[in-house]
Symmetry: C2
Subunit: 151 residues, 2 copies
């Protein structure tokens, strides 16, 4: 007997990205998490590991992307959706651009380091769909709590 794969909501996958962000928080990393989804399935996960890897490029999105490339055996992922808890920075936008990731869903805005702070232009391919504000409050709260504890 064949069952249909249940269709999950953006909130469902953003919760998974939030779990990654919480893991970053627990490791004293800036709490950003990401999951890469294809055909309603998570194919890669990542959370910020800049401190652990001593590498300023080790953002959640980049780690999820590079894992997804290896999983899929492809350096282009037009059918994938990236869920990330916080607005991507310029570096991560560029990485998503090169990977031709079809859809990007993010939670909280990042007024300081988000890409909107650095450009008024669309840094993605024209086809790329952008969805914002999914579980924004929860995603932002994690960041606020982290930086509050650091002060």
């Amino acid at each position: 007997m064949l069952y249909n794969t249940p269709s999950f909501s953006h909130e469902h996958f953003m919760r998974q990205a939030l779990r990654e962000a919480e893991e970053a928080f627990a490791k004293d990393e800036v709490p950003v998490g990401a999951v890469m989804v294809m055909n309603n399935k998570i194919i890669a996960r990542g959370h910020n590991q800049v401190e652990l890897l001593n590498d300023s490029t080790a953002h959640a999105e980049v780690l999820a992307l590079t894992t997804a490339y290896q999983v899929m055996g492809s350096k282009y992922l037009p059918d994938a959706t990236l869920y990330v808890t916080v607005e991507p920075c310029l570096m991560c936008c560029g990485a998503l651009y090169w990977g031709k990731v079809g859809k990007i869903v993010y939670g909280a805005n990042d007024e300081k380091n988000g890409y909107h702070h650095f450009t008024n232009q669309n840094p993605f391919p024209l086809k790329t769909e952008i969805i914002t504000g999914v579980l924004a409050e929860e995603c932002a709260k994690l960041m606020k709590d982290f930086f509050k504890a650091k002060r």
Copy 2:
């Protein structure tokens, strides 16, 4: 007896970046090369390995940067200079921004994928010094030859 370290020119280090770009060309990768310099010494080298690594983030600058982080044991490199044969893309600008790389020297402009195509704003920290056009013709010629051969 103590000798002074000779002071090398921008052209000297750009030639080293060009050697990296030529290595990329020989491996059928888009011919971009980079070297990271500190105190007049090359601390890391990189050339584009997107095809080999099947990873759209494996640009020359990113590879040189991540090597330099490991070599220096630091995720910030304010005293380093990055030499790269072609104008960095948005992803690489973001990576250089996060690494606080003090000086960026590039050769040829990239009208299609260079960062100037995506933003009118300065994507780097205010302190970052940018020098352009070093051995520009040689750097551009390598790219033109590569894409001509692909057609």
